[in-house]
C-alpha cells in the first residue's frame, strides 16, 4: 500500500506537486492519470525516494522508501525505459541490479524470459527499440518479485501483442494481492486495465475514485440527433421541443444536436410530435477518454495550436482567393472531445478553493447550462484566432 499525505514539491518558484494525498491499495490496478507536466513523474520519483518532497511524505507499507529494508524486494518500478546504460547488455544490466539487492542470478534469466527478451539477453541495450526498452524496464521492476509495483507509461512503444501482455500482466499481478500503480496516457488502455483512478492536474488531486464512478461523474451519455440540413427551421423547432421536455441540447459543429437527459425513444416521440424528420438518432456512450478530457481540460499546460505556416506562404497573386483552411479535429480545439463543463463558464483552471478532500468541483456532474453555449466558444483558452 502506498500512502501519500500532503505531498508537495517545489522547484524554485514552480510548484510541481501541491498538497497531494492519496492511497493506493493492494489487490487492484490503480491508474494514475494527468496531462503532460501535471506532476505524475515527480510524484512517482517522490514515492521512490529519488526526489525529496518539499513538505508532506509518502510511505510504502508504512515506511518512507529510503528507510525500507531491501527496497527492491518490496517495491519494483519502471520509471523510464531509457534509464539504462546503453553500452551494457541486457543481462548484465539486470545482473548488477540483482546483485545490489542480493537476488540470485538465476532470477535474472527468469525475468528475461517473462518479458520475452531471452534471445537478446547478450545484446547491448543501446540497440533496443523503445518497446524492447520497456520490456527491459518491466523486467527490472519484476526482478525482486515485489509486492508493490510502479509503472510509468509501461505501454509506450509496445506492439499490440506487448500491450495485451502488459495489460494481462498488470491484472495478474494485482490479482496476486500486489499493489499496482500505473500511469498512462492511453485512456482506452486504462479503461481496460485499471479499476481505480487517481487523476491529477497541475500537481493537484482532481479525482480519486473507481473508473466507473469517474466516467459517470465526469461525462454524461448523450444522444446525437440530426435534422435535415435543408430545413434549418426544423432544427430550431426540435431544440425548443426537447428543451421544453427537460433535455439539454447543445449544437455540434457539423449541425447535429447533442441531447442529454432524454432517452432515445422519448426524443423520437418528441420529434414526431413536433413533426420534425430525423436523419440521425444515435446513442453515444461516454468513454473514459471523454470523461478524462472533460475533467482535465482546464489543467492542460501544453496545448497545440493550429499550424498557420505564417510567413512561409507564397504571396497570393492579387485577386486570388486564399484557400480556406480548416483545422483538423482536435488541433487547437481543446473542446473537440467534449464541451467545457458549463458551470465553469470557461474559467481557466484555478486551484480548488475547497478544502482538499472536500467536494471536488471538477468531479461534480455537469449542471444544465443556462443557455446552450456554442461549444466552440470557451473564453479561457488561447485559442488561435483564425487570421482570415
Amino acid at each position: 500500500m502506498i500512502e501519500a499525505v500532503g505531498l508537495t514539491k517545489r522547484y524554485g518558484a514552480k510548484t510541481a506537486v501541491y498538497n497531494l494525498s492519496f492511497q493506493v491499495r493492494p489487490g487492484t490496478v490503480t491508474g494514475f492519470l494527468g496531462p503532460n507536466g501535471s506532476g505524475k513523474s515527480t510524484t512517482m520519483r517522490m514515492i521512490l525516494g529519488l526526489d525529496q518532497p518539499t513538505t508532506g511524505q509518502v510511505t510504502i507499507g508504512g515506511y518512507p522508501y529510503r528507510k525500507l529494508p531491501n527496497a527492491p524486494r518490496q517495491v519494483g518500478a519502471l520509471l523510464d525505459a531509457k534509464a539504462v546504460h546503453g553500452g551494457r547488455h541486457a543481462r548484465n544490466h539486470l545482473l548488477c541490479l540483482a546483485q545490489l539487492s542480493g537476488i540470485p542470478a538465476r532470477r535474472v534469466d527468469e525475468v528475461l524470459g517473462v518479458v520475452g527478451l531471452q534471445d537478446v539477453a547478450k545484446k547491448r541495450s543501446k540497440g533496443f527499440s523503445l518497446g524492447m526498452g520497456q520490456r527491459l524496464g518491466i523486467a527490472a521492476a519484476l526482478l525482486g518479485d515485489p509486492q508493490v509495483l510502479l509503472f510509468d507509461e509501461p505501454v509506450n512503444g509496445l506492439d499490440p501483442e506487448g500491450i495485451l501482455w502488459v495489460r494481462n500482466l498488470m491484472k495478474s499481478l494485482a490479482a496476486e494481492g500486489r499493489t499496482v500503480f500505473v500511469s498512462s496516457h492511453l485512456m482506452s488502455e486504462m479503461a481496460l486495465t485499471a479499476e481505480h483512478l487517481i487523476v491529477i492536474g497541475r500537481g493537484q488531486l482532481l479525482a480519486d475514485m473507481s473508473v466507473r464512478d469517474f466516467i459517470s461523474h465526469n461525462s454524461a451519455d448523450f444522444a446525437r440527433v440530426r435534422t435535415p440540413e435543408t430545413e434549418p427551421q426544423q432544427r430550431e423547432k426540435l431544440t425548443a421541443a426537447l428543451t421544453e421536455a427537460g433535455g439539454q441540447v447543445l449544437p455540434e459543429q457539423d449541425g447535429a444536436l447533442r441531447v442529454m437527459g432524454l432517452p432515445l425513444p422519448r426524443i423520437s416521440d418528441l420529434a414526431h410530435g413536433a413533426d420534425v424528420r430525423l436523419w440521425e438518432l444515435s446513442p453515444h456512450q461516454a468513454s473514459l477518454e471523454e470523461a478524462y478530457m472533460r475533467m482535465t481540460q482546464g489543467a492542460v499546460d501544453y496545448r497545440s495550436t493550429v499550424d498557420q505556416r505564417a510567413g512561409l506562404q507564397q504571396q497570393l497573386p492579387p485577386g486570388a482567393m486564399p484557400q480556406q483552411q480548416f483545422p483538423a479535429p482536435g488541433q487547437g480545439q481543446p473542446d473537440w472531445y467534449a464541451p467545457p463543463p458549463p458551470q465553469q463558464g470557461g474559467q481557466p483552471f484555478a486551484p480548488p478553493q475547497a478544502a482538499p478532500g472536500g467536494p471536488n468541483p471538477y468531479a461534480a456532474p455537469p449542471q444544465p447550462p443556462a443557455a446552450p453555449a456554442a461549444p466552440a466558444a470557451p473564453a479561457d483558452l488561447n485559442k488561435p484566432e483564425d487570421p482570415r
Binding site: L50, L79, H85, G87, C96, P104, N168, S172
Partner: protein, 285 residues
C-alpha cells in the same frame, strides 16, 4: 518459479461490477524468494559487474596500458645503463603516466557521470536507496581496478628496464616505493575524478574540470611568477602540481620523493569525496 507466466486474465475481471477495492482479496503478497539483508558486499559485486561490462573501461584502461608500457619500453630502449645511476628503473613509466593519468581520470569520471548521463542512476538508486553504499562501492571498486592496473604496469616497466639496464654503471636504486606511490597517485587522481563526476553529474563537464585541476597548476605559475605578490603562490603551485608530483615520485627532481605531494592529493581527494557524499544524500536525482 515465482512470477507466473502472463496468463490471460478472465474477462470477467475487467467487467467486474462495482469494484469494491476496500475489501480487495488477498491484501498482501509474499515472495517465495528469500529476502536477504543487503550490505556493502552486494554493492561491491554490483559495481564490479558494472565496471567490467562497459566498453569505456576497456578503452580507457587499454590506452593507459598502451601509453605506460609502450612509452616505457620506448624510453627504456633509448636510455643507457648510465642514466640509471641516479634514476630508478621505473623512470621510463613516468612519460607514459603523464598522458596515462588522463585515461584514469576519464574512467573515474565516467564511473559515476555516465550513470547520470544515461539516467541509469535512477534505476540504481531505486534498487538501492542507500546511496552512500553505492557510492562507497564505486570508489572502492574503481580504486582497486585503477591501482592494480597502474601499479602493475609500473612494476612491469620497472622489471623490463632493470633486465635491460642492470649493467655495472647503473646504481640499482630501490624502486619498490615508486611503484606504490606512482600507482597511488594516478589512482587517487581517478578517485578525485569520480568524486567530481558525482558532484557535477556531467561527463564532459567533470572531465574538463579535472583537466583544469591537473593542467592549470602547471601552466599558471609562469604567469604568477611575474608579479611579486603572487610569487609564493606560483612557487607552491609549481611544486605541488600533478605533473611535477609525478616527476618527483619517479626521482626526476633529485632529492625529493614526492611524499608531500602524495599527501596533498590524499587530502584533496578525501575532501572531494566527503563533499560528494554530502551532496549525494541531499540532492534529487
Amino acid at each position: 518459479m515465482t512470477t507466473p507466466p502472463p496468463q490471460p486474465a478472465p474477462q470477467a475481471y475487467a467487467q467486474q461490477s462495482a469494484p469494491n477495492w476496500q475489501g480487495a482479496p488477498g491484501t498482501s503478497y509474499t515472495s517465495p524468494i528469500p529476502v536477504t539483508r543487503t550490505h556493502l558486499g552486494h554493492a561491491l559485486a554490483s559495481e564490479w559487474t558494472k565496471i567490467k561490462s562497459v566498453r569505456s573501461t576497456l578503452w580507457t584502461l587499454g590506452i593507459f596500458l598502451f601509453l605506460v608500457l609502450g612509452g616505457g619500453l620506448f624510453v627504456s630502449a633509448q636510455t643507457e645503463d648510465l642514466n640509471y645511476q641516479d634514476l630508478p628503473f621505473t623512470f621510463p613509466a613516468f612519460i607514459g603516466l603523464l598522458l596515462g593519468q588522463i585515461c584514469l581520470i576519464t574512467l573515474g569520471v565516467l564511473v559515476t557521470s555516465s550513470e547520470y548521463g544515461t539516467g541509469m542512476i535512477r534505476t540504481t538508486f531505486t534498487a538501492s536507496p542507500q546511496r552512500y553504499r553505492v557510492f562507497a562501492a564505486k570508489i572502492l571498486v574503481f580504486f582497486a581496478v585503477a591501482f592494480a592496473v597502474s601499479a602493475g604496469s609500473i612494476l612491469l616497466v620497472g622489471l623490463l628496464t632493470s633486465s635491460m639496464h642492470s649493467g655495472p654503471e647503473a646504481a640499482d636504486l630501490s624502486w619498490g616505493g615508486t611503484v606504490l606511490k606512482g600507482g597511488l597517485y594516478v589512482s587517487l587522481l581517478g578517485v578525485l575524478g569520480l568524486a567530481v563526476g558525482s558532484m557535477l553529474r556531467h561527463s564532459a563537464g567533470a572531465i574538463t574540470a579535472m583537466l583544469g585541476i591537473v593542467l592549470l597548476p602547471s601552466i599558471l605559475p609562469v604567469f604568477l611568477m611575474i608579479s611579486r605578490s603572487t610569487r609564493t603562490l606560483g612557487e607552491k603551485m609549481q611544486e605541488y602540481n600533478a605533473i611535477n608530483a609525478l616527476a618527483k615520485i619517479f626521482g626526476a627532481d633529485g632529492g625529493s620523493t614526492g611524499g608531500s605531494q602524495v599527501w596533498l592529493l590524499v587530502g584533496v581527494t578525501a575532501a572531494a569525496v566527503v563533499g560528494a557524499f554530502a551532496l549525494l544524500e541531499r540532492r534529487d536525482v
